[in-house]
């Protein structure tokens, strides 16, 4: 069993900087968990504490049922893939992958069997005799993963492994990593600042910010039900639109959200109870660009039409991003590429209010 458990883990550096402020995290066996967040949020620090490369200031970390606070990395039965690959430049690919096994005195045929197996999984068999400097970035990354796989550890740790690759290669490697996880089924903790990687790879995503965990959940949960404004704005690309608004009485008895004097959007009846107590308080309305679209008369009933002047149009091929301003707030809508929109012209918009989110402006909590 290879669960990973962090209990009230704190990291304070010399000088008083608190990088991790007490996080609790339970990772199940065979789960693929992604720690995601902006730079400096403490995700890499947490990963390195799990690896044993950073000392834990307070709290406990358990791997596979044993507390590992003061166990050195070599005895934690973990493997790590670094952002810069950290391949031994003077050793061949084979030796790089075999190094950990050699240190643990595995018999030679066992080493060869494991390295060949891993090389087969990662499709790097023809590279086994080469030195790292003769490999491309993607190949080096695969060797780094191979080094981790042969060890057959309890936990895989990935520290932003795709950050050094170009965009196209990154997409390719993402799929590779997912395939490897499906084949090898080892508990994985993966750190990235790219929320797309998080969403596509993870069984569960841990969103971190400023040393604390904002929310833990499956990618779908985070997307549909963010708990805080930070998570709502971090997950999803392009980012959610935030507009200051007030909850007011609506047209036919229900509630509505007043964004500006001219724009009042109806609240779905199902949410009336939830939002009732926030009436007449300044709140923040969140709507994702994909839930804004061009208004059609034949569209769903009751959807308000709002006409806005277009600021910038970004045709992306399969969709078009249209940027507006509501007051001083920038708004982005993801519309059908067939939509005709020109900068300066008015475009009629509508919103799927079933997908709205309402947040407290001071705490960021989604209500």
């Amino acid at each position: 069993m290879a669960e990973v458990s962090c209990r009230q883990v704190v990291k304070i550096y010399d000088g008083g900087v608190q990088a991790v402020k007490g996080i609790d995290l339970e990772i199940a066996d065979r789960e693929f968990v992604v720690l995601v967040g902006p730079s400096g949020c403490g995700k890499s620090t947490t990963l390195r504490m799990i690896a044993g490369l950073e000392e834990i200031s307070a709290g406990e970390i358990w791997i596979g049922g044993d507390i590992v606070n003061d166990v050195p990395p070599r005895d934690r039965d973990i493997a790590m893939v670094f952002q810069n690959y950290a391949l031994y430049p003077h050793m061949s690919v084979f030796d790089n992958m075999a190094f950990g096994l050699k240190l643990r005195k595995f018999p030679r045929d066992e080493i060869k069997r494991r390295v060949d197996e891993a090389a087969r999984i990662l499709d790097i068999v023809p590279l086994l005799e080469r030195k790292p400097r003769a490999l491309s970035g993607g190949q080096r990354q695969r060797v780094a993963m191979g080094r981790a796989i042969v060890r057959n550890p309890k936990v895989f740790l990935f520290d932003e492994p795709l950050s050094n690759l170009d965009a196209k290669l990154r997409v390719q490697m993402r799929t590779e990593i997912k395939k490897v996880h499906q084949t090898v089924r080892t508990t994985t903790v993966y750190v990235t600042h790219d929320q797309v990687e998080a969403m596509t790879l993870a069984d569960r995503v841990v969103v971190m910010n400023g040393g604390v965990i904002e929310q833990v959940g499956s990618p779908q949960e985070l997307y549909h039900s963010p708990a805080t404004r930070f998570v709502a704005g971090f997950i999803g690309s392009p980012a959610m639109n935030f507009l200051p608004a007030r909850v007011v009485d609506g047209a036919s008895g229900g509630l509505a959200v007043q964004v500006t004097d001219q724009i009042r959007l109806p609240v779905p009846p199902a949410r009336a109870d939830r939002y009732g107590k926030y009436k007449d308080r300044p709140m923040v309305l969140g709507l994702r660009p994909e839930h804004l679209f061009e208004y059609h008369e034949n569209g769903r009933a009751g959807w308000e039409r709002v006409d806005l002047p277009v600021d910038v149009v970004e045709p992306m091929g399969m969709e078009t991003m249209v940027h507006f301003f509501i007051g001083h707030e920038p708004v982005c809508a993801r519309v059908d590429p067939a939509t005709h929109a020109e900068p300066g012209e008015m475009l009629p918009l509508s919103a799927d209010m079933n997908q709205m989110h309402l947040m407290e402006p001071d705490t960021g909590r989604v209500v």
Binding site: E55, I56, E60, I67, N69, D70, P72
Partner: protein, 298 residues
């Protein structure tokens, strides 16, 4: 997990944490102790040099008590040397020779390095390697044939021969350092300057030298050190006191026959070591940078 096992685990964790922390503290303090031992070993001779320089001849020959400390410190040795005309001559000669050597060496090295680093011409690569190789022909091989050459130039027993010869010791390494520094200046700077209308010499003076100033300082210090402390060439070519430089002057002059005036010798050492030590104290980082230019720039 039940409360008791949790506590037991926690106390185990805490004691474990202390031992790991203690291990790391041990390694750190062990390093300091070992380094302190090394420092003592390496600073013993300079320390003793200073101690002896403060002793009177009487105290030295009396040999009473601990020779490692001064019982009756006196500045008489220093005073003697400062007012001793020969010593003044040695110092002056050393300064003249060193200054000229440094200037000549740096001019040659900077010009050559600029050319080799930036402008490729036929044979420039072999020349750069060749420059490095000459370092491997030591002075102790050249001093005898040079004896004839210097004689032919009529410069035997004149410290000007040193001004000619010392650059051969300094220039190769200085050139090598400067090539390293010049090469690391991005070519875009050249191109921007060319577009701005600069000629090559202007590029050298207005861009390369200012940007590579740390390298220039390091190379200058190296040339200075080599020139100031050279012993073989002056010993071979200079015979009269009025031409000698400090290194040979101290060795030959203050050791008169069988009488070694150690107090004065050590005081002379201290005075002669002052310029390098002062430069080192203030410009240590450049000193080190010069030495490690090879390690980091390949």
């Amino acid at each position: 997990m039940s409360a008791t096992t949790f506590d037991a685990a926690q106390s185990r964790a805490i004691s474990h944490r202390h031992s790991l922390h203690r291990q790391r503290a041990w390694a750190l303090w062990g390093s300091y102790v070992a380094l302190a031992v090394f420092v003592v070993m390496f600073l013993v001779p300079p320390f003793y040099m200073v101690m002896t320089s403060l002793k009177s001849s009487a105290e030295i020959s009396a040999q009473k008590g601990d020779p490692w400390i001064v019982h009756h410190p006196t500045l008489a040795n220093f005073w003697y040397l400062i007012t001793y005309p020969n010593f003044q001559t040695y110092y002056l000669n050393s300064v003249i020779v060193t200054v000229f050597t440094v200037v000549i060496s740096m001019v040659i090295a900077v010009l050559a390095a600029f050319s080799l680093a930036r402008m490729s011409f036929w044979g420039s690569q072999t020349l750069a390697t060749g420059v490095f190789l000459t370092y491997l022909i030591p002075a102790s091989l050249l001093f005898l044939p040079l004896f004839r050459v210097i004689g032919f130039l009529g410069l035997i027993n004149s410290y000007w021969c040193l001004v000619l010869l010392y650059p051969t010791l300094a220039v190769p390494f200085c050139t090598w350092i400067m090539i390293g520094y010049f090469s690391s200046i991005p070519k875009e700077l050249d191109e921007a300057a060319l577009i701005d209308g600069a000629g090559y010499l202007q590029m050298l003076f207005k861009i390369f030298i200012p940007v590579a100033m740390p390298g220039i300082i390091a190379a200058t210090i190296f040339a200075f050190t080599v020139a100031w402390g050279q012993f073989l060439y002056p010993l071979a070519y200079l015979y009269t006191s009025n031409q000698m430089v400090l290194t040979v002057g101290i060795v030959s002059d203050l050791i008169r026959g069988d009488v070694f005036e150690w107090g004065k010798i050590m005081a002379a050492n201290v005075l002669a070591s002052l310029p390098p030590i002062l430069i080192y104290a203030f410009l240590m980082d450049y000193y080190v940078a010069g030495l490690t230019a090879g390690a980091t720039k390949g």
